[in-house]
Symmetry: C2
């Protein structure tokens, strides 16, 4: 029944949200704002971007990004590595601490996987994986 699917989906997404909240708390994320957490995530994804690249990726101006990055550096989550080829620019690296904080996302996933493993038996897990795979491997609506 479609309503049943919807209901379970809603619960499932809430579980994920809750797991993410929980993971954030456990990662000693206390003295980071949502914005700063977001910066860390994107720096991680972009793999050592420059200020300009980060600003472009986030759709913000360079001065704005400079200020937030300076705060992240002051707090020890990020460091700058000077470019050899261009003395004006540096690459932003996550520090060990920054990497660690950035793993809160993984923790949330681990929690969900743990839950699935606890609630389903081996055959069901395999089946669920297969179905998830089918759902997620498809092209997005936009692509079609």
């Amino acid at each position: 029944m479609k309503n049943q699917l919807k209901e379970s989906m809603v619960k499932f997404t809430r579980l994920i949200s809750a797991a993410e909240e929980d993971a954030k708390e456990r990662c000693e994320v206390q003295d980071l704002t949502i914005t700063q957490l977001n910066y860390l995530e994107i720096i991680g994804e972009l793999d050592n971007p420059t200020i300009t690249e980060l600003a472009t990726a986030m759709g913000l101006t360079k001065p704005s990004v400079t200020i937030v990055v300076d705060r992240l550096i002051a707090k020890g989550f990020v460091c700058k590595v000077h470019s050899n080829t261009d003395k004006r620019s540096s690459f932003l690296h996550l520090t060990g601490l920054g990497e660690k904080i950035n793993q809160w996302h993984d923790h949330a996933h681990d929690y969900m996987i743990g839950r699935i493993a606890r609630q389903l038996n081996a055959t069901e897990v395999e089946l669920f994986t297969l179905l998830l795979n089918k759902i997620t491997h498809a092209k997005t609506q936009k692509d079609q």
Copy 2:
């Protein structure tokens, strides 16, 4: 395989996040901050709370909540209904516009359900629903 499950889970949660982002954009949420969106959601959940109830639920002070709610009223997303029994207090109601904005969450769910329906056949949908149900119906880890 466990890694396969993790991989699909990560993709699935990203799909949900993307769907939520998308839904927010489609709901003309432009002139609302994340905070304000959050206030609307909680006002909806609490079902016409007073300022005091809202502040308690959010763990914020009453003056802070007053200010944000005033902005939401100014923008036409919320209105106050005076209490008959206590002339000091009012109940916060979502306006039609507020309700509409608040549905962005549902839109995200609908998108996911649409995707599932497109990628799976009827039998698979039923199976997926069943498994989701099993996963989500369990008590949380904390309760155990």
